[in-house]
Amino acid sequence: MSNEIFSVLGLFDSAQRMTDAIPLVRQKVAGRLEAYTPYPVHGIEKLLVQRKSPVAGMTFIMGLIGAISGVVFEMWANGVDYPLVTMGKPYLSWEAFVPIMFEVAVLFACFTAGLGMLLLLNRLPFFRHPMLHARSMPLITRDRFALAVEADGRPLDVAAVSDALRAAGAESIEIVENLAAPGLLSPRFLFTALLAIGLACMVSGYITYWGIKLFPKSIPVVHMLDQPKLDPQRESAFFKDGFGMRMPVAGTISRGHLPYTVKDEIAAEVLSNPLPRTPEVLKNGRQDYMTYCSVCHGILGDGKASLTAAYGAKPSSYHTQTMRDLPDGRIFHVITSGKSTMPSYAAELLEGERWGTVHYVRALQRAYDAKDEDIPEESSR
């Protein structure tokens, strides 16, 4: 069984002779004319009546799409989705988006021109074209110019075409048949190869994914966790005592504080509250009382609070006569130095804040033990 004839080639030894031959051949034979050349011969497309390349238009449109999508994405990301103030400019200040807009436009345009030309317009890669196993192909990619008369649906009159080409100056003639692609370039093999590459990518992807998931902190990917520094509350072999944290130098006092020298509650009785009873002082005292005292002593100072059960201690209510009679100084001393299970609050509250808390405790006692005459005239009406 003879194969179908794809085309008849005439080989010429210069671009000049081939282009001269085109009108001569076209006069004599039907069929599609195509030229195969080692390099682009300028102007030949006019002689062969081929359509103009649409590459320029494609590139322009894709470049425009690139520019628009680039700038719109930038504005959406930095102006809408995650608004970011940079140098006090408005969110949608477009000037700073121009460089990336330009780069994206060039990227889109270049890949359209390059890959669009190769893959879409030229329909490559294509390994089954009959020309690829023509005997003349090595000559064409070297220095010969082939004019081909290709079958366009109808069978070619091989003898007539050969004569026409020879008459037009072809140095040799080749008849190209439709043949199956050679083994390694068969679609089946290429498909298998692509599948294998895809599979290899998937396997290595999974290995990487699980590797990162199971060993997230392998060296060197430790995310700066391993640092030669001292952490608070940690041991250190550097210091003789083995502690990472250092004590301040003996006798150090913090700025604005004087040491509290009163020995016991009795001695503290003589202290008097230096703060005036203003709404401001009471407000701050209430804030501190609520933060530090109320968890044990209760919001009302009655010793009923959330922590008493857990703590095991039973703070006495403020609303006994003994407590009401205590001088301010003794309350201040207990807050400062602690009493039985109650710890010192000197570290949490400054001296003035402690006196403010004393005022608030006094206000609580007074409110709990309110008399009829405490009610103002206007509101009793």
Partner: protein, 469 residues
């Protein structure tokens, strides 16, 4: 006229009057293939193995030191506040600059129809790609945790944040990655017809298969060529804009900041010219070696070297203007900080670097005014080496000299690179030359298809071609 024997143009009149010949001796399309493509088919020479051994050992040292940097952190470098940008950014700007000559030759000169570019475009484009690979290493390792480098790209993430698109550093990511991928595409498209030639010359089954795949089954039909030619010209136009934008964006990294000595409007053109300057020096250097060792003197003629040396001379003069402008800005602005920084360039701790830069970039290239030096091997290699060193030092001056004395006098700091810095710099040279050597063995170093186009008699007369060389 037969395409096998071509008379030399210029036989009729003195060489200096005619259009200069871009080939030496008889060259035809067939002999071109036999000369250039056969290089790929032959086994490499002993000299090549020696060169590869040296460059790959240097590269391996560089790779090991990069590994050490990643394991230990960038504390092993000399960078410290206020000189937070040291060798990493110097090398990045240097290598990106080297790449620009390739795109200039392949794209801008294509648009200007400079015929001499066809013989050197392939090599220059390959050098672009290798230089950009070397450059890309530095920002990546400079971030300290390179495995998180993908944070620079805008991708939807569970943190719900996006990169700051108003930052020149993000512009850089886009510019350099676009530049790399477009250069690669441009280079590869040019290779496709040459790979088809290699496929058709191949003897072994395996070789033929590999080249068949690589050339996508290219068959040289006129429809294909028409699309190809158009696309190639468009790509050249786009790459021209791209190459100018890339180094401008690199200069924005500096110019958009407020550091005295960086915050200047002259930076983008100044950087672009400097990039082309350094790149051409590297092309001259490599081609001077390649043309001898690969016996390509008839295709890459002394005229080519002459023209490239003229480009170097032009760039050198433009650089001189830029340096003078820096001084002028410092003086005319009456800004004491810019003035101080400028004085640091010429009279400070790094004045030696400043003066070496001026000597290497401005004074030494002036030799090229003399035709004899433009055509002399020792002279052009000397100038090219001087320019390469000078342009590296220029980036050193711009970065280190400007940073080491900042606004706060207490933090002034004398920058000294460590052995790791130097090793990584050498390592990228090793990487660059390893890739150049491998490229010279496995792919055609001259774009044979493009060369065939400019051989005499390549285009038919009545379609606008000319018989003149």
């Amino acid at each position: 006229m037969s395409s096998d024997t071509i008379p030399l143009a210029g036989e009729m009149m003195p060489e200096i009057l005619g259009r200069p010949s871009i080939i030496n001796g008889p060259v035809s399309a067939g002999s071109l293939d036999d000369q250039v493509l056969a290089q790929v088919e032959r086994g490499p020479s002993a000299l090549w193995y020696v060169a590869l051994a040296i460059s790959s050992i240097i590269m391996i040292v560089g790779v090991a030191l990069i590994g050490y940097t990643i394991a230990e952190g960038i504390g092993v470098w000399g960078n410290n506040i206020p000189v937070a940008w040291g060798f990493d950014i110097i090398n990045f700007v240097f290598w990106i600059g080297i790449g620009h000559a390739g795109t200039l030759i392949s794209a801008i000169l294509l648009l200007f129809r400079a015929r001499w570019r066809n013989a050197i475009s392939r090599f220059a484009e390959a050098m672009t790609i290798f230089a950009v690979i070397c450059a890309l290493i530095f920002p990546l390792i400079h971030v300290g945790r390179p495995w998180l480098g993908f944070w620079l790209t805008p991708y939807p993430n569970q943190r719900g944040i996006w990169p700051n698109f108003r930052s020149p550093l993000i512009w850089d990511v886009f510019a350099v990655s676009t530049y790399f991928s477009v250069s690669l595409l441009f280079w590869y498209l040019g290779l496709v017809p040459d790979l088809a030639s290699l496929r058709d010359r191949a003897v072994g089954r395996f070789r033929k298969f590999v080249y068949s795949i690589l050339c996508f089954g290219w068959r040289g039909s006129s429809v294909h060529w028409q699309h190809f030619d158009k696309a190639y010209t468009i790509l050249a136009g786009l790459a021209t804009g791209l190459v100018l934008s890339v180094h401008s964006v690199v200069s924005f990294d500096f110019a958009v900041s407020l550091v005295p000595g960086w915050h200047m409007t002259i930076f983008p053109p100044y950087f672009v010219v400097g990039a082309i300057f350094a790149g051409f020096a590297m092309v001259v250097l490599v081609l001077a070696l390649v043309r001898r060792t690969m016996r390509l003197e008839n295709l890459i003629t002394i005229y080519h070297m002459d023209v490239m040396n003229r480009v170097i001379l032009t760039c050198s003069c433009l650089m001189g203007y830029a340096y003078l402008m820096e001084g002028f800005t410092a003086w005319y602005s009456m800004n004491e900080y810019i003035h101080h920084t400028f004085m640091q360039y010429i009279a400070g701790s790094y004045a030696w670097a400043g003066w070496t830069t001026i000597t290497c970039n401005i004074l030494i290239p002036q030799l090229l005014w003399i035709r004899k030096f433009r055509r002399s091997y020792p002279a052009m290699i000397f100038v090219a080496l001087a320019v390469t060193a000078g342009m590296w030092l220029e980036r050193f001056v711009i970065i280190v000299s400007s940073l080491h004395q900042d606004f706060l006098v207490t933090s002034w700091h004398f920058y000294k690179p460590t052995i790791v810095d130097l090793g990584i710099l050498c390592g990228t040279f090793g990487l660059f030359f390893t890739m150049v050597l491998l490229f010279a063995r496995v792919l055609p170093v001259i774009a044979t298809t493009e060369m065939k186009m400019v051989l005499p008699g390549a285009q038919p007369h009545h379609l606008g071609g000319s018989d003149e060389q």
